[in-house]
Symmetry: C2
Subunit: 187 residues, 2 copies
DNA sequence: GTCTATATAACGATAGAC
DNA sequence: GTCTATCGTTATATAGAC
């Protein structure tokens, strides 16, 4: 099984990634120039290029940080028995999504990032594993639509205007209850 | 109440919009150059600028086409009684989303379009009306999370990899059943 | 309505000094 | 590790002929 990078980035690289992700979320990857990232970090473009050879590498590194967390969650869940695994993944994925409310949408929907997710094999495998846990291995149309809805609803709901005033704890508990209900209720 | 444009665009403008929207959906607005739009239409950039003064005007016109359909749906629904209104909106919004599978995601998530939705008053009002019908006027946290999930789930599920092989009719019926269930089930 | 040609600005990326 | 300066390319947008 292919795994994501586990050795940590340098402090300089980590600062760049931390500055870039919120910009990607607000303006999109294509709407975020290296000048904007450099300004946010407080250095010049050349200093950024000393840490990353291309803009794509910054995008890749930023996505990798969040997907590494997802990988940890999946590993923990896959060690559990069937019904418990799904509940564990749901709980932790919701925690992740709520905690990073502003960022999830970019990772899930930005065209540049979507391309990365589709082309780079370790990312693809990670998504496959997530879907496998969500569907519980079932392949029927009903089950797949439920899983697709849950997957979209979590990422989309956390930054929805309708829930902007909810604190993290309230959002977390409502989301968990409703996603479980959506997955389990008999149709 | 502010309304969207009702007079039709010229044939030339309509062709440009039809060519632009799929490009916006695949590459994002910022990832779609006027050269790409011109190539898709089969003319030069200058010909495009003869129809629209700026790129923003093309984006605006493209979004307006889809939101005008949403407005029609909302008008029909608002003329109905309470419980029926929500079911009607859900049915028609799902039809719209499934029918334009590839396009919805851009309209819902592209940063440039999101800015338009937030800044231009008639668009904002339209979204408010949609949310009002989905929540049925209730303002509790549970109701708002449900509505946010439904709103995100419909747009996100229609182009989810898990349901790529489902035909429109199957996707439609599953989505309708499950969204109604998500909104109505007692928690 | 469409073309060729071009102005102007910003982009990603590199060279070389400190 | 950060800077100034710059290269080559592409972006939005315009001018003016047909």
């Amino acid at each position: 099984m292919s795994r994501l990078r586990s050795d940590p980035r340098s402090a300089a690289q980590t600062r760049i990634i931390a500055a870039a992700l919120p910009l990607f979320a607000e303006h999109g990857v294509n709407g975020t120039s290296l000048q904007m990232i450099a300004d946010a970090v407080g250095v010049t473009k050349a200093a950024i290029y000393h840490q990353f050879r291309t803009k794509d590498e910054i995008v890749f590194a930023a996505v990798e940080v969040d997907l590494a967390k997802l990988e940890s969650v999946l590993e923990a869940a896959e060690a559990e028995k069937r019904p418990r695994a799904r509940e564990l993944v749901l709980t932790e994925v919701i925690n992740l999504a709520v905690e990073r409310r502003r960022m999830v949408s970019a990772v899930q929907h930005d065209p540049v990032i979507v391309r990365f997710l589709a082309k780079y094999e370790p990312f693809r495998q990670l998504m496959e594993r997530l879907y496998a846990v969500l569907t519980g291995g079932e392949t029927g149309a009903d089950t797949r639509v439920r899983a697709a809805m849950v997957s979209a609803a979590i990422g989309g709901a956390v930054m929805h205007p309708l829930v902007r005033d909810l604190d993290d704890e309230a959002l977390r508990s409502h989301l968990l209850k409703l996603t479980l209900q959506l997955l389990d209720a008999s149709g």
